[in-house]
C-alpha cells in the first residue's frame, strides 16, 4: 500500500504468536518500479541505511521470493512460511550487520536453506512434495510445455503465481484476496482491511483458498499460448477489480481508496513486464494510469465526488497521462484492439482535452461502439449514451438511456439514474430529474455520493 502510513510499523515481527506476524513488513511507499530483479535492489545501501533499505526492499521482494520458492518446492504454504522466516532473519541481522551486497539473493538463499531444513525435519511432508514433483514432471511430458521462446521472455516466476492465484476454479473474491496477499505482498490484516471484513474472516478465506489449491492440485504453471486467450482475461480482471474498488469504493465512508488503486497499478505494471507481448497488459496498465491520473481532482475538499466536467484539470497528473498515452499506442497497435485498450483510448481522449466542450466526443462515441461489440453490457451502453448526449445534445442521450430502462442490471446501478437526472436537468425537466436523483440516492453506497445527490436535489 504505497504511502499507507496506517499500516506502517504495526506488523513488525517482534512478537510471535499471531499466524500473520512477521509476514507483513512496514509498507514502504516503495515506488512501483522498484525491485524489478532480486539482486538489483538496495545494492549499495550502507549499514546506516539499513532500516530504510529493509522497508524499501521487502514490499516488492516478497512476491518475487514467494514465486521463486513456489516454483522450486511446488508448495505455497512452505513457500510462504520460509519467505516470512527469511524476511524475519533479515530484520534481525541487517540492522546490526548491514545490508548484504545482494539483499534479494541473500533472502532467497536463506529461504531455500530454511525450506530444505524443514523438509529434512518433516519426512512425510517431503515425501508428499516428492510425489507432487514427480507428477509435475509427468505433466510436462503429457502436456508439452509452452514453447521455449515464450518462456524465455519471462523475467521471473511471478507469472505462474498470478495464474494460480487467479485460477477460475477459485471463487472470484478469493482470487483477489490471494493476489493481494501473494503478489502485492499485503498481509492478511491488510487484505482484510481492503475488503472491509474482519481479519479472522479473511484469514479463513485465504486458508480455504490455499487448501483448494493444494488438495484439488491447482497447478503452478503458465498456461500455454493456446490457453492464454482464455486465461489472461481472468488475471487482468482481478487487477482491474482491485482498481475499481479503489477508484470508486462500493461502500464505506470514502469515495476513493487510493491505497487499493495504487496496488492495482503496481500489479498491472508487473503483469506488463511479465507479458510484454500481450497488448491487453498494455491496455490495462494504460487504463489504470489514465484514470488514476485524475485522482486528486476527483474529490472535493470534503471527499465529495467532482464530476469530470467540473474537475480542475490542472490537478491531473501529467506524467502519468504521458505514460498512459504511450501505452495506449502499444495496446492498439498490431492487431484487433481488446476491451482494456479501447477503454484506455477513451480515457486518453478525456485526459487530452482542455475541457469538456473541446473533448472529441465523436471519437469517444465511436470507441464505445467498438467496446460494445467486444463486451456488450448495459453499463457500457449507459456510458455511450452519455457520450452521445455530449455529441448530439441531451435529448438524443436521454432517448438512448430510456431505451435501457428494462435492463435488470441497471436497476441497482446508481450512475444510470444519475445520468438520467443530469440529462433531464439539462432539458429543463426538473421534476423528472428529481425523481431520478431520488432513485440514485436510494442506491448510492458511499456517503460522499449521497451528499452530492442531496445537493443536486437542493436538500
Amino acid at each position: 500500500m504505497a504511502g499507507g502510513d496506517a499500516s506502517a510499523g504495526e506488523n513488525r515481527p517482534a512478537v510471535g504468536g499471531d499466524a500473520s506476524a512477521g509476514e507483513g513488513l512496514p509498507a514502504a511507499g516503495a515506488d512501483a518500479s522498484a525491485g524489478e530483479g532480486l539482486p538489483a535492489v538496495g545494492g549499495d545501501a550502507s549499514a546506516g541505511d539499513a532500516g530504510v533499505a529493509v522497508e524499501a526492499v521487502f514490499r516488492e521482494e516478497r512476491g518475487l521470493l514467494l514465486a521463486s520458492l513456489v516454483r522450486r518446492f511446488g508448495d505455497l504454504d512452505l513457500a510462504e512460511e520460509v519467505t516470512s522466516e527469511a524476511i524475519e532473519a533479515a530484520l534481525r541481522h541487517w540492522p546490526a550487520e548491514g545490508v548484504p551486497a545482494r539483499p534479494g539473493a541473500w533472502l532467497l538463499t536463506t529461504a531455500r536453506r530454511k525450506a530444505v531444513d524443514r523438509l529434512r525435519r518433516d519426512q512425510a511432508y517431503a515425501a508428499r512434495l516428492a510425489v507432487l514433483r514427480a507428477d509435475a514432471e509427468r505433466a510436462e511430458t503429457v502436456a508439452p510445455a509452452p514453447d521455449a521462446a515464450r518462456i524465455a521472455e519471462l523475467p521471473d516466476d511471478r507469472l505462474q503465481l498470478f495464474f494460480t492465484c487467479t485460477h477460475p476454479a477459485l471463487a472470484a473474491e478469493d482470487r483477489t484476496a490471494l493476489t493481494l496477499r501473494c503478489l502485492a505482498g499485503l498481509t492478511t490484516p491488510e487484505v482484510a482491511r481492503a475488503f472491509l471484513v474482519p481479519t479472522a474472516t479473511m484469514a479463513q478465506r485465504i486458508v480455504r483458498a490455499k487448501r483448494k489449491i493444494r488438495e484439488a492440485r491447482i497447478p503452478f504453471r503458465v498456461p500455454g499460448p493456446d490457453e492464454l486467450p482464455e486465461r489472461l482475461p481472468g488475471v487482468l480482471q482481478v487487477v482491474y477489480s482491485v482498481f475499481t474498488e479503489g477508484y470508486a469504493a462500493s461502500s464505506g465512508p470514502r469515495l476513493q481508496r487510493l491505497d487499493l488503486a495504487e496496488e492495482a497499478v503496481r500489479l498491472a505494471r508487473i503483469l506488463r513486464r511479465l507479458l510484454p507481448a500481450e497488448r491487453e497488459t498494455a491496455g490495462l496498465l494504460a487504463l489504470l494510469l489514465l484514470v488514476h491520473a485524475r485522482r486528486d481532482a476527483r474529490t472535493g475538499p470534503d471527499g465529495e465526488p467532482v464530476l469530470l466536467e467540473e474537475q480542475d484539470r490542472e490537478r491531473w497528473d501529467r506524467t502519468m497521462i504521458e505514460e498512459g498515452r504511450d501505452l495506449v499506442v502499444q495496446a492498439l497497435t498490431g492487431g484487433p484492439a481488446g476491451p482494456y485498450g479501447v477503454q484506455a483510448a477513451i480515457a486518453a481522449l478525456h485526459d487530452e482535452a482542455a475541457d469538456v466542450e473541446s473533448t472529441d466526443w465523436a471519437q469517444i462515441v465511436a470507441l464505445y461502439d467498438v467496446l460494445l461489440t467486444l463486451t456488450p453490457s448495459p453499463v457500457v451502453a449507459v456510458n455511450r449514451a452519455v457520450a452521445v448526449a455530449m455529441r448530439d445534445g441531451p435529448g438524443a442521450g436521454l432517448a438512448l438511456l430510456d431505451a435501457l430502462a428494462e435492463e435488470p442490471r441497471l436497476r441497482a446501478y446508481p450512475p444510470y439514474a444519475v445520468a438520467r437526472g443530469d440529462l433531464l436537468t439539462r432539458l429543463g425537466r426538473a421534476g423528472e430529474a428529481a425523481v431520478a436523483y431520488r432513485e440514485a440516492l436510494e442506491l448510492a453506497g458511499t456517503e460522499p455520493e449521497r451528499a452530492a445527490l442531496r445537493r443536486k436535489l437542493g436538500e
Binding site: 503429457v142 492440485r217 504453471r221 498456461p223
Partner: protein, 116 residues
Amino acid sequence: MKYMLLIHSGAVDEQGGAPQCTVEDWMAYDKAVRDAGIHVSGESLADLVTATTVRVSPTGERTVTDGPFAETRELLGGFLVIDVPDLDAALDWAARCPGSRDGGAVVVRPVADFGA
C-alpha cells in the same frame, strides 16, 4: 492424482429426453480417455426411474423408498475416474466430455488420498 468426473445431464424435458450428444460422441470420448492412459474406472447409470433409496434410522430400522426423482434440474447420469497430473488436466478432460454440453455439467472432484 485421481479425479472423479460426475456427469450430470441437462434438463430433461417432458418426453424424458434432453437434446443430448450422440452415442458416437460418447464412444469417441471413451476411446480418447482410454488411449490417453488416464482411465481408472467409470460407469453410466441406468434411468432414474430405477433408483431406490435406503436409509437406516438411529434405532436400526431400515427405510426403503422409490426414487429419488428429478427434483433438481441436473441428474447424475454417470461418472468417470481419471488419473491425471493436476486440476487443469482434469478440467480439460471434463470440458471434452459430451456430458458438459447441451445444458449438462461435469463436476470435478479430487479423490481423497488418505495414504499421503
